[in-house]
């Protein structure tokens, strides 16, 4: 009597034992990848590489002209800067208020960068009753939610190119599955994406699953539609 299953080599395939990778090799690889990642400029998904070459052009002549223009702009920026225009007799700007927080920053110097809210003001962004904001400092940025009392909650923090500014282009608060979901569209220039934050207690927390559903929605109506049908 024939056994149909026995003729199917694939259905009888036993699972192959997989050896354990060596721990030392794994640590080396992870460390090497971390170092390489730390040296990479942050690039949002799907973005094009924009570097000095793109800025200065594709030919040597364009590069020379671009470099000349850039140098002139730097000199003008320096000459016209408020610090340069201060007369020598003008009093030096008062140092910022010092206190326990500043002391704390000094003590952490070299270990971790200072929190962005201690360095620069919030760039507010308002969408109806929603109060949000962004901080851009050097190669770092963070996005915040501001509640009714004016208290800020940092939603996400990340890295960017020094000459880029992350902005918020849209936001909406949606009641979904008994929870409030804050959807924010942010990015650099035309490279924008939606992210979803679910209200958990007094805070909003990033939801990878919902962000995955809405990241490329065209507007807040489509965000709401996608969440309602999920």
């Amino acid at each position: 009597m024939s056994r149909p299953v026995s003729h199917d080599s694939l259905s009888r395939l036993p699972q192959e034992p997989i050896p354990e990778p060596s721990f030392g090799r794994m640590q080396e690889t992870i460390a090497a990848a971390q170092q390489l990642f730390a040296r990479q400029p942050v690039q949002m998904p799907g973005s094009q590489v924009v570097g000095r070459r793109a800025f200065f052009g594709r030919t040597w002549m364009e590069a020379i002209l671009g470099a000349g223009f850039f140098s002139t702009a730097c000199v003008l920026a320096f000459v016209l800067s408020p610090a340069f225009m201060l007369s020598p007799s003008a009093p030096a700007p008062e140092p910022a208020q010092t206190g326990p927080i500043r002391t704390d920053m000094v003590s952490r110097q070299g270990l971790r960068p200072a929190d962005l809210d201690m360095i620069t003001d919030l760039e507010p962004a308002r969408f109806g009753d929603l109060r949000l904001g962004v901080r851009n400092v050097d190669d770092r940025f963070a996005i915040y939610h501001v509640d009714e009392q004016g208290l800020e909650q940092q939603l996400v923090e990340g890295r960017k190119s020094v000459n880029e500014r992350v902005g918020i282009s849209n936001a909406v608060l949606i009641h979904w599955n008994g929870q409030d979901v804050l959807a924010i569209r942010s990015g650099v220039g035309g490279l924008q994406r939606w992210e979803a934050f679910i209200e958990v207690g007094p805070r909003f927390e990033l939801s990878a699953a919902l962000s995955h559903q809405i990241w490329d929605a065209t507007d807040s109506a489509e965000v709401e539609k996608r969440l309602r049908t999920s």
Binding site: S9, L10, T29, A33, Q34, Q43, A208
Partner: protein, 181 residues
């Protein structure tokens, strides 16, 4: 054995990916650490050698450090990582000319006449070496569907083809292995 990630784990991974794409180094470290064994396992299935699989795993991890931004969330990160790993493993095989050795080895296996009982006792490694000797598409289909226990739909997404194409590769692999085994 269930190879696919549980939903909660999958969400964790997707969250780490999003944060890493924003430049969060801690998230990237956690992502790499959490995916290392997965990458190694897939690489080993394609290559059949531990040290080779570790070489490919290293290449994939370094590639992630430089190319994570190219992941656009159109598919799940796991599907994308399958594709990246299998592509790099394939390139590794081509460059190392190991495929020829595997074919030779499999031919040796095929030349032996064995009955069903002996077949059942045949070392598992030999059987999978025979799978690795198949043409690339057939091999990938067998590894994904019967090794990783993915659905044919998921295998099709990873292989960038239609489900019916995966079924066709499996059909051909089945015929080839029936001759070999």
């Amino acid at each position: 054995m269930l190879r696919q990630e549980a939903p909660a784990e999958s969400q964790d991974v997707e969250g780490l990916v999003i944060r890493a794409q924003r430049g969060d180094q801690q998230a990237f470290s956690r992502l790499i650490a959490s995916q290392y064994h997965f990458i190694f396992r897939v690489a080993f299935r394609v290559l059949g050698h531990k040290s080779d699989a570790e070489d490919v795993t290293q290449t994939v991890c370094l590639r992630l450090a430089t190319s994570l931004s190219s992941f656009d969330h159109r598919a799940s990160f796991t599907s994308w990582l399958y594709r990246v790993t299998m592509n790099i493993a394939r390139d590794f095989l081509r460059s190392q000319m190991r495929r020829r050795k595997l074919v030779d080895g499999a031919a040796g296996v095929a030349s032996e006449h064995v009955d069903a009982e002996q077949d059942a006792q045949r070392p598992v490694q030999d059987i999978w070496n025979a799978v690795r000797s198949l043409p690339e598409k057939q091999r990938d289909a067998v590894i994904l569907v019967h090794g990783e226990e993915l659905s044919q739909e998921e295998a099709a997404r990873i292989m960038s083809c239609k489900k019916v194409t995966v079924a066709w590769h499996l059909h051909n692999a089945r015929k080839a292995l029936r001759d070999l085994l």
